[in-house]
Each structure stands twice: as structure tokens, then as C-alpha cells.
């Protein structure tokens, strides 16, 4: 038994903004971790996170935190454009790192960071929380069990108005998200890793489509995407649409035997195909209706148990902690992180001078 496996991991969190609360809530309850320190450039935000989640100390400087604390694991939850420097600092301080997506603005920078982690013999993991959400787990089970047959289609469609939140707030200055793909870039890692995972692919063969700013808000950068991706025999359709209601994150995986679909924001599962086609399609519809009705109860339960869209975060964190304590494989490999980053680069590359002009359809 290693020294780490015999005790709880000493965890620090850098960046106490919105998404940090999902991490902090879990860390403060985790049997595997002890929340030692939080760090935010805003003293009041750091103190608030410390008091709210029972951290021992709060810092405004990562230099001070790393000098004072012997941390095993650092969660990097700062704005994405600042990840690189904080991750390097944490690795150099001898910490394993769990970083919110995207780890870096492009695949080349990610490769450098992953090389650095390898050279310092530390774990570096980018979050993949949606892979641990119940509907995705169930779809994945259908896929890997062969119930879908051979996967041929993976369609991912997000409806969300990225300009409506802080990313597009006209009262704030500077870019909403300091990444090449603008506000959309914040969602791209989800699309990239979900597509590759559900397609069972490690890379894509080609991509066509567009990335645009349809609303004309310059802070957003880009708010809409429509891309067709090919990976072997699998075709994917990746979309982000700002204008339709309600917000949704639809996933449809089509196989040679069955297809399955869900919405991560209003979860349900519909499985079509198999024997229930043609005259038996009504049976499938009755089954799907039953599943939809049950999903209503399940979704109420999820609300009560605070088990919403971020339900994958605690599950993924525990997997990461287990790997760090046991010296086992982390929940996402460096190769997977890079493969998703390469696909994200390709999507960002769809922005052309003729389509990235704000307001142009």
C-alpha cells in the first residue's frame, strides 16, 4: 500500500468561480479527499469558498499556496486562457492536476502540458464529466454491449444562447471567453470527446461546416456551429444553435441495429429499432412513452438530489482520485485528451474570414 493510498488526498483548488462550486461541493464531501486550500485572485471569493466548503486556508497567490501547502492534487478551474501557467506551476510543485476543459486553447499547447506532466511523473487529467452522466453511461452500455450494432451516426446538438450569459454581457469588457473559438469554444471539448468516445474513434478523417457569430455580439466571438465529421464508417453532426428554445443537449447515436437518443438537460432515453420496426413500431412507441413517463419521475428525483447536468463531475473526480491514490490509469488518457483537442482545433478552423464577421449569417 502506498502512502497516498492509505490516507485522503490533500487537495487544493485554484479558481473559485462558477464551475468551481461543483468541484468544491464534491471535494468537501469526498471520502478520498481533504480540501486543504483554495486560491482565487479575488480575496473575497477565496474566503467565501473557504468558509462555504470548509477549506483550511485561502490564498490569492498560487505562489504562496504552493510554497505553504504540501498538496497531492490541484484542481485548476481558472478561466481557460490561464490554465497553462497554473498547470505548469502545479506540476512543478509536485502535484497531480485535474483541469477543467479545455486544458489549453489548442492541441499543440496541450501536448506540451501533457509532456510536462509525463516528465514530472505526475497525472494530468482534463475533465470529461458528461461521459459520467447517467444517459451517456446508458448509451455507452448499449454501444459497447453491441445492442446498437455497428455505430454509424453520432449526432450532437446543443441549443444554447451563449450571448445571453456573461460570455456575451455587453456591460463587461474584453472577450467573453479568451479562446480562439470564442464562447463556442467552451462547449467544443464536450462535443469533441463525446463524438470520439461514442464513435469509438481515436481521430477523424475529415470535417466540413461552419463556425459563425450569428448574433453580432463581438464579446461572444462565435455562437453557432454546424459541422459534419467523418471518422471511419461513422458520420457525426455537431451543432450549436443559439436561437432555439429550450436549452438542450441532444445526443443521438445511430447503429446498424438500433438507435438511441437523449437530452442531457432534460434527460430521457429513447431506443428505436431492433425488432420493433415496421408494424411493430407502435410497440417501440409505447415502450418509449413509458420510458419518457419514468424519466419525468427520475428528473424530479434528480432535482431533489441535486443530481443535474453536472452529475458526472463527482463520479469523474472519484475515478481520478482512485487512479492517483492507487497509481492506476487515470479516467482519461493523454492520447484521448489530445485526440479531442485535435478535433476541437479542426472545428475552430472552420471559422473563416468570410464567416467570422459578427452579424453575418
Amino acid at each position: 500500500m502506498t502512502e497516498r493510498s492509505a490516507r485522503r488526498l490533500r487537495v487544493g483548488v485554484v479558481g473559485c468561480g462558477a464551475i468551481s462550486h461543483e468541484h468544491l461541493r464534491h471535494i468537501s464531501r469526498s471520502p478520498s479527499a481533504e480540501l486543504v486550500a483554495v486560491c482565487d485572485r479575488s480575496p473575497i471569493v477565496g474566503r467565501f469558498a473557504r468558509d462555504q466548503y470548509g477549506a483550511r486556508r485561502s490564498y490569492v497567490s498560487t505562489d504562496d499556496m504552493f510554497a505553504a501547502e504540501q498538496l497531492d492534487v490541484v484542481h485548476v478551474i481558472t478561466p481557460p486562457h490561464t490554465h497553462e501557467s497554473v498547470v505548469v506551476q502545479a506540476l512543478d510543485a509536485g502535484c497531480d492536476v485535474i483541469c477543467e476543459k479545455p486544458l489549453a486553447p489548442d492541441a499543440a499547447t496541450m501536448a506540451t502540458l501533457l509532456d510536462h506532466a509525463r516528465s514530472t511523473h505526475r497525472v494530468l487529467v482534463e475533465t470529461r464529466n458528461l461521459l459520467y452522466n447517467d444517459p451517456v453511461v446508458r448509451i455507452d452500455h448499449l454501444r459497447t454491449s453491441g445492442a446498437l450494432g455497428d455505430v454509424r451516426e453520432v449526432d450532437l446538438a446543443i441549443s444554447i444562447d451563449l450571448a445571453a450569459g456573461p460570455f456575451g454581457d455587453p456591460n463587461l469588457s474584453g472577450p467573453g471567453v479568451g479562446l480562439p473559438g470564442g464562447a463556442v469554444h467552451d462547449m467544443l471539448p464536450h462535443l469533441s470527446y463525446l463524438f470520439l468516445h461514442l464513435a469509438g474513434a481515436t481521430d477523424v478523417d475529415g470535417i466540413t461546416g461552419w463556425l459563425r457569430n450569428t448574433g453580432g455580439n463581438p464579446r461572444v466571438g462565435f455562437d453557432a456551429l454546424d459541422a459534419v465529421v467523418e471518422a471511419g464508417a461513422v458520420q457525426g453532426h455537431l451543432r450549436i444553435a443559439p436561437a432555439s428554445c429550450p436549452d438542450s443537449f441532444r445526443i443521438r447515436v445511430g447503429g446498424t441495429d438500433r438507435s438511441v437518443e437523449t437530452d442531457l438537460y432534460q434527460p430521457y432515453l429513447r431506443i428505436q429499432g431492433g425488432r420493433d420496426v415496421g408494424r411493430r413500431a407502435a410497440i417501440e412507441q409505447i415502450r418509449s412513452g413509458g420510458r419518457l413517463a419514468l424519466a419525468a419521475f427520475s428528473n424530479v428525483g434528480s432535482k431533489v438530489f441535486d443530481n443535474g447536468t453536472y452529475q458526472g463531475i463527482p463520479r469523474m473526480l472519484e475515478r481520478a482520485y482512485d487512479a492517483i491514490r492507487s497509481g492506476g490509469e487515470p479516467p482519461v488518457s493523454a492520447e484521448n485528451i489530445l485526440a479531442a483537442a485535435r478535433l476541437t482545433d479542426l472545428i475552430v478552423g472552420l471559422a473563416s474570414p468570410s464567416t467570422d464577421t459578427p452579424g453575418e449569417p
Binding site: 468561480g17 479575488s42 473575497i44 456573461p166 456591460n171 432535482k303 431533489v304
Partner: protein, 333 residues
Amino acid sequence: MKVLITGSTGFLGSRVVDLGLRAGWDVVALVRPSTDLAAVPWDSEKVDIIRGDLRQPGPWGDQIAAAGIDVVVHLAAATSGDIGDQVVNTLVSTENLLAALDHDRLRRFVHISTFSVYDYSSPRPGSLLDEESRIEPLPARRDPYTQTKRAQEAAVRQALGDRTELVILRPGAIYGPGASWDHGAAVTLGRFALIFSPQAELRLCHVDNCAAAVVEAVRSPEAAGEVVNLVDDDLPTHAEFFAMCRDRGMTSRIGVPVPWVAVDTVARLLALLDRTRLGGAIKLPELLAHRRQQARWKPMRYTNQRAKDLLGWRPERSISEGISTLADAGSNR
């Protein structure tokens, strides 16, 4: 006297600006860059405007520092949203404001807090909740509003120290045109409105009365260093408020009283179930979450005596008049 008002276009802030101008203040209003001054409810010609967003440091900070501010009335804060939103809009905004001020010149800081910072779990039902009552010791069990407003108060106290006179105002439920508090109903179900804790006092403060108290807090020498609760005179119960609103045609729903003992018992059972069987994992709405529920519906008594003594304030609008302002604004359902 130059008075900086944050949240100047908000529900309460716009009335404070108006009354401040009438009181002869040189009003400096911090307004967001996208605000249309033609649409603000006060005379923008008479107000020094500084454009800026408290959530983000910017040129507005230098402009405030150079403006020669004598008094700050800090109203800007989030009243809803998730915890991330409220941390930014309440805490980060306050931190940025405090960093921008010329503390050598600043004489007084009037901070608008809330009754939500108090502990409602410890006092016995029916007891008096006043300025000496205990602050919520377990904010994590309350809502983000309580959590951030409590932290905001602490941050203001810490930043100002002994350099500046601090007046903390804790208004009750501020009501007025556009803010009816659902006419005292806890929840509506079709034609019915559930009136939780119908015999409990509803700690109302009409927005005009509240604004008048803010003005007095700026100028009252006795208010320096004090915490002052703000509620109106002759507070109605939840049931009385609902009935008055219904009589004025603001709601046609049928009120269904749900006694406090029933509300409390259900929430206690859920809390027990959560603690013993579910590992404290459930997240209930305010209606059912015990500690949050107590803050809203536990029968307590309230007083505005300190406000009257220190501020010389008298709530000019009676509850009946206040309800008329709701009705006149068309707060009908």
C-alpha cells in the same frame, strides 16, 4: 455632500436617487455601460453619471476615486441566480467598489443588507427578532442569497475598519409596484394559493419607506456604526396581506391557510429523513428545506424601534397605502 449610489437604476436604488436629489445631495450614480439613460426613472441631467460595471475593475474605479465621494450608498447586489452569479454580483462587485473608493475622504458607507442574514432556527416561535439577534451560524444550509449577503456584510466591515462610519441597514421584504411577494402566498396551485404560516407577521417594508430610511441613514449622526432593521409599522400577517391584496382585486385565487405547525412538521420529517437515510444529499426548495423555510415562515415578531430612534424615520406609507401602490401598478394575477 457628494453621494455615490450603486444599484441606482434598481427597484430601491432609483427611489433613493430621487429622494437624494430632493434632499439636496450631489448624486453620483454608477450605471452599467448598456443602461439607456433616457429610460432611467430619475432625472439624469441632475446626476453625475459614471459608467461602469462593478463586476469588473475598469476606468470607473479611477473616476470614483477622483470624484470626491463623501458617502456611499451600496445597493448593488444579486437577489437571485445560482451561487456563481451571486458571488460575482454581490461579493466581487463589493470588493471592486471598496478597492476603488478614496477611503481618506469617504465619511460614511451605508450598506444595504437584509433580514436574510439572521438565524431563524434558534429563536423560539413568537420571539422578537431585532438587531441584537444572532447572525446565521450555518449559512451553508441556507440559500446563496443568505450566504453571499452575510459574507458581503463581513467584507464591508473588514474593509472599512474604523476609518469610515458604517451604517448597515437590514430591510425586510421590500415591496411596491412590481414586487408583490406573491401577495403573501407561498405557492399557487391553479385557483388556489397556499398561505404558509398564515398568522405569522410578514416583515414588509414598502420601497418608498425603505428609500426614505436610506436617506436618513446617510445624514443621521446617531446612525454611525449601527445596524438598523427596517420594517413598516403595523405589519400584517401573511393571511391578512393576502386578503388585502385579494380585496383590491390583485389576485382572484382562493387562499388556503397552512398552519406553521404543519409546514414545520413536514420539513422536520424531511430533514430527519435526509440526515438519517439519505446522507444529507437532498436539495429541497425553500418551501420544504427546514432551515430556509424557517427564515421565511417561522412566526416571529419584528420591530422598527431602532430605526425610529436612530434615524428619526417614520414609515410614511401605511400597509394599506402600500397595497394601493401595488394595485395601481397593475400587480394583478
